[in-house]
Amino acid sequence: MNIKTNLKTLIVKNPLKLDCGKTIKDFPIAYETYGSLNSQKDNAILVFHALTGDQYVSGTNPVTKKDGWWSYAVGPGKAIDTNKYFVICSNVIGGCMGSFGPSDIDPKSGNIQGTNFPVITINDMVNAQYNLLDHFGIDKLFSVAGGSMGGMQVLQFISNFPDKSRTVIPIATTSSHSAQNIAFNELGRQAIMADSNWKEGDYSSNNSNPGKGLAVARMAAHITYLSKKGLQEKFGRKLQEREDLKFGFDADFQIESYLRYQGSVFVDRFDANSYLYITRAMDYFDLAKQFNGNLSDAFKLTKAKFFIISFTSDWLYPTQENKDIVIALNSIGADVGFVEIESDKGHDSFLLDVPDFLNALKNFLDKSYEEN
């Protein structure tokens, strides 16, 4: 994977104390920007990516050659209009697209970090990315936005830096990772670690790759991003390029073939150890716990305007978990709007062409920006 050339990278000089107790410094944050920062520097939006995302929000991803992960929402004239706003997105630490992660070389040993990489948290990711504000000389962001794990980072960001964003948009997310979601992540991790090519995380120096395990992890996770109805409508029991069942274990059904394909393309672009570390960070996320069980206290110091969005068919981060954040905000009289978008596309709805969602996002941003 020679993907780390030609990346925009900020080397963070300041030491960052991680939640695990270790301190890191002189580490890279790989980022990408879209649109331009105006002279008042009041039009910047920091977008946070989800588990398998990266800094390539829009346009063509130079590594995968596919559209950026949020191309439906971000771009010229789109909901997050890059003719108007300056969008910044960076690869989370622990990731594998140029930011400090487990596939980096450990300068002491000369080998890749592997499982010697420190366990990182959502809090660590956000604190690392905060350095981008200084880098661009931005005193206050116009907005922080993100879905899924990106939404967790949004919540953590405004909790850590209450006066650093005017608006806050957590989408299809949670303030505390549920048992069900930890369970799904554990399933993925076990699939990777059960692959004999994983070699306790040291697969690179052994010239191997736990691709099978990582693909299974991706397949299982992918199911959780869709809805039963969406799957049924798209695939039903349709057969894959065959007239009848073959009485074997090839991909008879289109859904099998689809999942296998999703697994195989994922392996080409994602590092297995990164998958372990990032899912761990999600599992450890419990914002209420950081405030002795009172989620409202996480937002007590901010005057930012919140807009929370969930989707009807999202069973991974269901509406109720998003509403819990709304409730915590209302109980302290914060400025919070909330809408549940009708969609049968499951958790993935926030990444897809869902017009009601994109319109709501656009209207909220544009109207809030006018109010400045």
Binding site: S331, G333, D335, G337, F338, E340, N359, K367, E371
Partner: protein
């Protein structure tokens, strides 16, 4: 903007914190925000209406008054507005109590079933009354608990709820209701507007 909203807006001073329960497309909210500098929030059950509010730049929470008022702390708003919806709840008393808990004051409007046209319709035609404020047929009306202005006044008094102002509205005419004219206002008004507190 409809006359009912003008009367409601007149009851609210500048710079107050206001919750509009069942805010629909946000016309009243927008007016209060622009003209009274209100710090205003809306609660609305319809997804389409919520979208319309967002397009107006209003802060709205998609939700249901019967379930979602409980998340707001006691007396966290100066005014809570409920326009022509009380009669549509399964348990209006519960909602009314919630409104009075969340708001220092509440402004409630009710379509008056004692309005002479309603009475006449039932008396002469013998079918369920249909008027401008009660436009639906018996089989598709959302209204479960119709009441008259008199019913509402008696009810709030029996619950020790203070009435600051009662206003009878008939087309363009708004007039104050008092104990002496209650009977006649109950006949002449098609809408009652009440400013109450507990």
């Amino acid at each position: 903007m409809k006359n009912e909203f003008k009367v409601i807006a007149d009851l609210i001073e500048k710079d107050k914190k206001v919750l509009d329960v069942g805010c629909a497309d946000g016309i009243l909210m927008k007016f209060l925000k622009d003209n009274k500098n209100a710090n205003i929030r809306g609660l609305e059950i319809s997804k389409e209406k919520v979208q319309e509010c967002i397009a107006k730049g209003l802060t709205v929470i998609e939700g249901n008054a019967e379930k979602d008022l409980k998340q707001f702390p006691d007396k966290s708003f100066d005014y809570v507005i409920l326009s022509q919806t009380l009669q549509a709840f399964l348990n209006p008393e519960l909602v009314l109590n919630e409104l009075l808990r969340v708001g220092k004051k509440a402004i409630i409007t009710i379509p008056n079933f004692g309005y002479w046209k309603v009475r006449l319709h039932l008396l002469l035609k013998g079918t369920m009354p249909i008027t401008k404020t009660l436009p639906d047929e018996w089989y598709n009306t959302p209204n479960l608990h119709m009441c008259t202005i008199k019913d509402f006044v008696y009810f709030v008094k029996s619950r020790n709820i203070k009435i600051f102002k009662s206003i009878a509205l008939n087309k363009l005419n708004a007039s104050l209701i008092n104990e002496r004219n209650l009977g006649i206002k109950n006949l002449s008004a098609d809408l009652g507007i009440f400013l109450i507190e507990k």
